[in-house]
Every structure is written in structure tokens, then in C-alpha cells.
């Protein structure tokens, strides 16, 4: 018995080091708990701040477009519609563009050097501050697309989305600038997850006579889907929350219109525009709108997770 104990006695790390271990573990626990605490804190604060508005307007807040601080009437439908339509349409354009780019730079259609240059340029796009993009959108993109918008209105005016005369600030411009901002997110994450698909799966597909086309769309993409979806979700979060560039270009009008060619509003741009001079029930209504924004992205997140579970190939 005595002999066996020496085994333990000789271990010097028994004292201080072990205490350090415990301290480290607990510090890590506390620090990582902060994430959860902060998240819960934000949700609670937003919820309680919006309570006044919530009890006064209830769900009517979500479906009316009246926003009149003088008469104390608030409805966020325009902003909610604007948020949904800008983020989903911008994603709709970004996903094929971004995933397509990712496929292009992970396959060997062109020499590696070219692919790497394209890849790093796409990533550099993410480094441009959104206020710069907003400025660019106002002074370069808008004049560039003006004729195209007129064309859209003239030929597709029967579609509600293009039913008004294009104005120089409108939702469609916001969608286009969002595409520029989302593209690097979707592309770089899609590229990483495509690269992570094991080579042996590609071999397997080619080995049974699959064309490159078939290999990419039936094997490689489904196997990378969960990663790509994660990128899309991140992009969606960005699209819903993006404030600066959108506020600069969207026109900030609470008058509801289905048309993308007329000025619109998003929840984020509404918050940015109004928090300064808001008081009383307007503050509460803004918090209510913020709460709606959080719920929206939560719902979209859960839906997307379900989609990924359903369609991705697990390797």
C-alpha cells in the first residue's frame, strides 16, 4: 500500500497546477456563459420595452402601415414587407451567383492562379464598408440602372412588383446593393464547404461514368449543402439587419406600395431613421418592430435548419 502511494506523492502537479486547472475551467465557463446571458438580456429588454406598444396595438401593428407619432398610431407593415422582400429577393439573386462562383473556383475549369485571384477579389468585396457601398449605390449604381428600371416598369408594369414609375431611391436598388454585400459571404462559405467534400466521393461519381455536370449537382453540391446553407443563413441575417447602405438608398418611406420601384422601408432603416427623435409610445413601437425583426430571423433560421436536415447528404 505504501509503495503504491508514492506513485501519487511524486506527482508535483497535484498542488498548484490542479488549482489552476479549476480556475481556468471556471473562468472559461463564466466567460462563455456571457454569450448566453447577453443574448437573453437583449431579448428580454427588447421584449419588455415593446410591451406598451404590444398591448396597445397588438397584432394590428403587423398589418397596418399607419405610422403617425402625432396621432400615436403605429403600424409596421411597410417595414416588415420591405425587410422580407429585400432580404429574400437579394438572397434569391445571390445564391445562384455565389454558389456558382464557388463552384467555378473549386473546379478546375481555369488555371489555379486565375481561380485564386477571383476568389480573393470576392473576399475583398466584403471589406468595403457599407457606407461606401451606399454612396456608390447613390451616385453610380442608380444612374446606371435607371434606364433598366424604366424598361422594367414599361414592359412588366402589370406585375405588382414593378407597377410604379421608378424613383431615384427605391427598394430594388436596396436589393441590388444587398446582393453586392451578400455575395462574398455566400461565395466564401460555399467555397470552403465544397472544398471539404471528400475527394473519394468525386472519384466515386466519375468512376461510374457520371459527367462533371452530374457529379457536381448530384453528389458534390448535396454533400456540401449544410455548409452552403450555413453561409446563406449568415447572409440572410446580414440582409435583414443591414442598415447603412439600405437606409441610404431605399428612400425611407412608410407609404406602403407593393412596387419595388417606389421608395420603401425596412425595419432596420426605420429604427435608424427614427430612434433619435422618438419618445414615449414611439420608442416602444420601435422596440416592437425590433422584436419582430428578431422573431423573423429566428423563424427563418429554424426553417433553414430543417431544410438542411432534410436535403443534405451526410458523409
Amino acid at each position: 500500500m505504501e509503495e503504491k502511494l508514492t506513485l501519487f506523492k511524486n506527482r508535483k502537479r497535484f498542488g498548484i497546477e490542479k488549482n489552476i486547472d479549476i480556475i481556468f475551467k471556471n473562468t472559461a465557463l463564466v466567460l462563455s456563459s456571457f454569450v448566453a446571458i447577453i443574448l437573453l438580456g437583449i431579448i428580454l429588454v427588447v421584449f419588455f420595452q415593446s410591451f406598451e406598444s404590444f398591448s396597445r396595438y397588438g397584432l394590428k401593428f403587423l398589418v397596418t402601415s399607419e405610422w403617425n407619432p402625432v396621432k400615436d398610431e403605429y403600424g409596421a407593415f411597410t417595414a416588415i414587407y420591405g425587410t422580407l422582400v429585400t432580404s429574400f429577393l437579394s438572397l434569391l439573386i445571390t445564391i445562384p451567383l455565389g454558389v456558382g462562383t464557388a463552384i467555378f473556383i473549386t473546379e478546375d475549369f481555369v488555371p489555379k492562379v486565375v481561380r485564386e485571384i477571383i476568389g480573393s477579389f470576392v473576399e475583398l468585396l466584403a471589406a468595403i464598408p457599407s457606407v461606401v457601398l451606399g454612396l456608390w449605390a447613390i451616385f453610380v449604381m442608380e444612374p446606371f440602372f435607371r434606364a433598366f428600371f424604366v424598361f422594367l416598369h414599361n414592359f412588366f408594369g402589370w406585375i405588382p412588383l414593378f407597377s410604379t414609375e421608378p424613383t431615384s431611391r427605391n427598394s430594388l436598388l436596396a436589393i441590388l446593393i444587398l446582393v453586392v454585400m451578400l455575395l462574398p459571404i455566400v461565395t466564401s462559405i460555399a467555397r470552403d464547404s465544397l472544398n471539404q467534400v471528400p475527394k473519394k466521393l468525386r472519384n466515386a461519381a466519375y468512376g461510374i461514368g457520371a459527367s462533371r455536370w452530374k457529379t457536381i449537382f448530384s453528389v458534390i453540391l448535396p454533400a456540401a449543402l449544410s455548409g452552403i446553407m450555413a453561409g446563406v443563413l449568415l447572409a440572410l441575417g446580414r440582409a435583414m439587419g443591414e442598415t447603412m447602405a439600405v437606409t441610404m438608398i431605399i428612400g425611407n418611406s412608410n407609404a406602403f406600395s407593393w412596387s419595388l420601384l417606389s421608395p420603401g422601408y425596412t425595419i432596420s432603416s426605420m429604427l435608424a431613421n427614427q430612434f433619435g427623435e422618438a419618445d414615449g409610445s414611439q420608442v416602444s413601437s420601435l422596440f416592437y418592430a425590433a422584436f419582430v425583426l428578431m422573431i423573423l430571423s429566428l423563424v427563418v433560421n429554424i426553417f433553414a435548419q430543417w431544410l438542411v436536415k432534410k436535403f443534405s447528404l451526410k458523409y
Partner: protein
Amino acid sequence: MIKTNKKTQKNIILSLENVSISYGTFEAVRNVFCNFKKGNITSLIGPSGCGKSTVLRSLNRMNDLIPNCSLKGTVLFDGTNIYDKRVDPIEVRRRIGMVFQQPNPFPKSIYENIAFGARINGFAGDMDELVESSLRKAALWDECKDKLNDSGYSLSGGQQQRLCIARTIAIEPEIILMDEPCSALDPISTLKIEETMHELKKNYTIIIVTHNMQQALRVSDMTAFFNAIEYEDGDSGKVGYLAEFSSTKKIFNSPKEKTTQEYISGKFG
């Protein structure tokens, strides 16, 4: 070296004529002449780095997927050079299937693993029947007939490899290439695969790369021994070549070349 007139040999399904394969400037194998007979199992053996896998992968143009890989010479399949510009590599791979070193089922159900290849190759018959017959030929049917909808990854390594064989059979190739199909498997699974190969021999030509000489002896009719030598032009790298090609019996009992004798008796490798 075997340099026979191809017209006089009717049973030749695949022949290499003066094939050299390089990766960039590095030459992996040089001047290979070799004829594979229809309905035979041919083993490619040799020490590491002798280029036997490279040769195998060149037979259905899988090497096309490796950047910088280039081939000189001709590979005749049914009298056509598969490296001819007009030849579609996808069609080549459909008629010359491949089983890889690592079992690589698709991350789909067992059923889909087999149906996928058949479907993309335009199979229009009864899919259930094809799945069953392919699995039977690969000696896997009894083990997985009740769980066809489970993921291919739910199978053991040996079963996965037989699933890959079944998947290859399902596209009805004329030749099946196997690149060390048992190197990741336990002895029992290995024996099962070998039994499967004996069954397959009735309908298919099989070319197999193996590190296991006992396996070559057990399964193959013909054996090609590849070796690697130093560049004669003083370069530091080694280049592979076909040292001896003969019936398996001859290679193992009375090899002509001294290096073959040394390799099969385990003096190097």
C-alpha cells in the same frame, strides 16, 4: 516484353502500347506494353512507387482528373484508342468501371447507391430488379436486403466495398478495375471480396492492383510485375516499368526475371 500483333490475338480486350505516364515533368512509368485478356483476372503487383496504380487509373482515364498528368502511347480498348480526341472519357468510364482503394459509397441509401449510376447511364428497366441482381452478384444481397433504405455508410467497411462493387456492376461495364480493393479491409472481408471476384469472372474482365501477393496468387490468371529503377540519365527519381508479364503460375513458380523472383520471395517491396 510482349509485342504481339493485335490482329492475331482475338481475346485481347485492352492493350497498352508503349504507354508512358508523367505527372508534370516527373515520369511515373515508361514504355509499358501489355495485353489484357477478356474474361481474365489480371493482377498488377510491384513495390510502392512502381506506377501500377497509375497504370490502372490510365485504363479508364481517371488520371484525367489529376492536374498535370499526361500520357504518351496508346491504350486500345476494343480496337479504339481511348485517348483519341474524339473519345468521350465519360463513356470510357461507363464501360470500364472502377472500384477504389477506400470504400467510397455515396452518402445515400444502399438502394440509391446502385440506382444512381444506373439511372445516369440511361437505365430504363426494372430498377428493383437491377438493384437486387447487382447486390447478389456482389454477394451482399442477403446481408442488406432488409435495409435497402439505410445509408450506405451504415454498412461495415467490407460491406461498403462490396456495395461499391455492386454499384459498378450495375452500370454493366465490360471491365472492372480494382485499385487495392482490400487494403482497407480485414481478412474475412478480403476473402469475401475475393469470392465475389471469382463469381464476377464469368461475366467481366477484372484488372486488380494489389500489394498482397497471396491475393494475386489466389485470384488472378495473369500477373504483371512492375518495378522501379533509377533514371539512367542520372536523375534522382525512379521510374516504373513493366518487368514481367505472364501467367500467375509462371510468375510465382518460375519467374524469368531475377527482380521478380526477389520481389515475390519478399526480398524487397
